[in-house]
Symmetry: C4
Subunit: 201 residues, 4 copies
């Protein structure tokens, strides 16, 4: 098994793409009108699934950010090893729980437990991504030309995201609306600084 270290990253990328594509897409199948509506009840039914649509959109966006970061990270990795496979699978496990959280909060938006679990699932996903990134940096799996400093900067951003998700989970006990706001903060955080980086170049 001495040549295990030279395995290219192509297959773990393809497998991750497959898993993330399924997670991100199949959630939409919860978006269904449960009663057969008539012309009179249709708007009431549509309003009833509005929270499901919003939670779908937030989960889609959050998972898409993870995919973009995964894409960027793996583009910079020289080759894979057995441990990297397992760090990736660990990440995919927590990402695969997102549809459960999305369904839970979409069906019961005002229950604090829904926001709590939704926050915890995102926290665990972000944590396993940070663990994956740390492993890659520590074991020198990055291409030599890659600026490690940039990755440490991203890691710091990850840590803020982690804190926000944990905060969102526990502040659901105070008010679920605080949690909702915090779930939107992380995607915003990932979009805005990128713009600044582009300006700096």
């Amino acid at each position: 098994m001495s040549n295990t270290n030279q395995i290219p990253t192509s297959r773990i990328e393809a497998f991750s793409d497959g898993v993330i594509a399924i997670i991100i897409t199949v959630m939409v199948f919860d978006l269904k009108l449960q009663e057969i509506p008539t012309d009179k009840t249709i708007w009431k039914e549509l309003i009833k699934i509005a929270p499901k649509f919003i939670s779908y959109a937030i989960s889609f966006l959050t998972l898409a950010i993870m995919w973009v970061n995964h894409h960027q990270l793996f583009h910079q990795i020289k080759h894979t090893d057995r441990k990297l496979l397992w760090y990736s699978i660990h990440l995919l496990f927590w990402m695969s729980i997102v549809p459960f959280g999305t369904n839970f909060i979409g069906a019961n938006p005002l229950l604090w437990q829904a926001s709590f679990f939704y926050g915890i699932i995102f926290f665990m996903s972000a944590l396993s991504f940070t663990m994956l990134r740390n492993y890659v940096i520590q074991t020198n799996l990055l291409h030599e030309s890659i600026n490690k400093q940039a990755h440490i900067k991203i890691r710091n951003k990850n840590r803020i995201a982690l804190s926000i998700y944990l905060l969102a989970a526990f502040l659901s006990l105070v008010s679920v609306y605080i949690s909702f706001a915090l779930f939107l903060v992380v995607p915003t955080m990932y979009f805005i600084p990128e713009k600044i980086t582009h300006l700096e170049k």
Copy 2:
């Protein structure tokens, strides 16, 4: 992140293929007989799911056209960048809502709201595709050998498609049958002119 601009398009193509493959396929799981039929009730049950079958076929065809165009566009793109990833994800988001619209119109073909949302979802999908194409043309991500004029021609065809979908959405208030006809016009439009192009060569 200076080498971000040299990322090949292979992974965004693979991810898009995965997402589109799931969207296009999993819709078929709504095609189920809801009651356990007997020899007497079976035809009544089958006729009941006929609108679901028709809406599945139209959605399959429309999504397939988008995939073919996506395939053709990305074949001509030199490399990807972060913004192109997000234009693609934006397109995939709207395409991922298609199964909701398909289920809605398949279960309630005569409700104008179903045709309205079906039209709006296709409009948003086509709009996000046009935005993706515009970005690619404007930022010179196309291979040098590619005729930009051809893309501008396609963009004009896209604009007609956009108008038809918007028209289909709002004319559902007059009659859903007008909307049904318009949902079939766009696929026809994409098939017939292609033939003419082939003859011109």
Copy 3:
């Protein structure tokens, strides 16, 4: 669009793999015990889903044969063009209906209509595969080294399969058990002659 003809087959292969992987796999989610069983009712519940399991296995096998043939055919194709994409999508459309037929016959094995539609769906899938193969042979998309004679031989085998599926569909009116037997003949036909070919070498 003059370089459209030089598009490699990699992406249509990847997309087909994705669609077929979903079709072949997601059917298993109909294999569910509908009532929560107790120690006493469990065997009755398990026997009730036995036809679903058998229809799943037959569909899995038939789709797997199609995938193997698709794999082999595309390995021998030089490059793709727009028409080949559409012949492939046409094939995928009919293959995507297989889960509907599988669910139908699994839930109502003794209704002749179930066997009828199951047969028709397989007939249409096999027909669209034959159309794809014919197009490839006629337009010289095959690598020069490939023996066209071998493909014509396979086409003849396809024609027998087509006749069997059509026969299975219509003989369901006489007895569904004749149809069941015929559904098993085609996979057997594809396995046994292959062995003979291997012996001939």
Copy 4:
């Protein structure tokens, strides 16, 4: 068909990745609260789905181990042939039944039949993997540089896993808790020795 033997493994790897990604992910859609909970009933509902979550996690882990081994094995295979395709499809068939077993044991953790089928399904999956590995070793499909001895070592580990799954299936008649323990032994077995291998280097 003389060049069939030179077919690269890329497409069977991609197809397997697709199928395994779907199997491993879509199971999560059984993780749903069945009743709409209130603030009072929510914990009772969450506890009710705890066995589903545990069985999901075990299945995810077991399938992930199989994927890692599949990844490693195929990385070392020179090229594919028709028989290798069918050994792979045989493996995928049994892996595709795992969601049925997971749903069964998650919904009825204390029924011995659930543990019995769960064990049998894992046994058949492991058996078909061993058959695939044996075929690869016997027909010299491995790269010359690969140590066959290492594969024979792994095969022995596979045989222990096979015995454990068979034991787990039949000991469910004595106590399902013995089966639960045994389902956890195999993943542990695959993780711990790997660590020792790493230390030996």
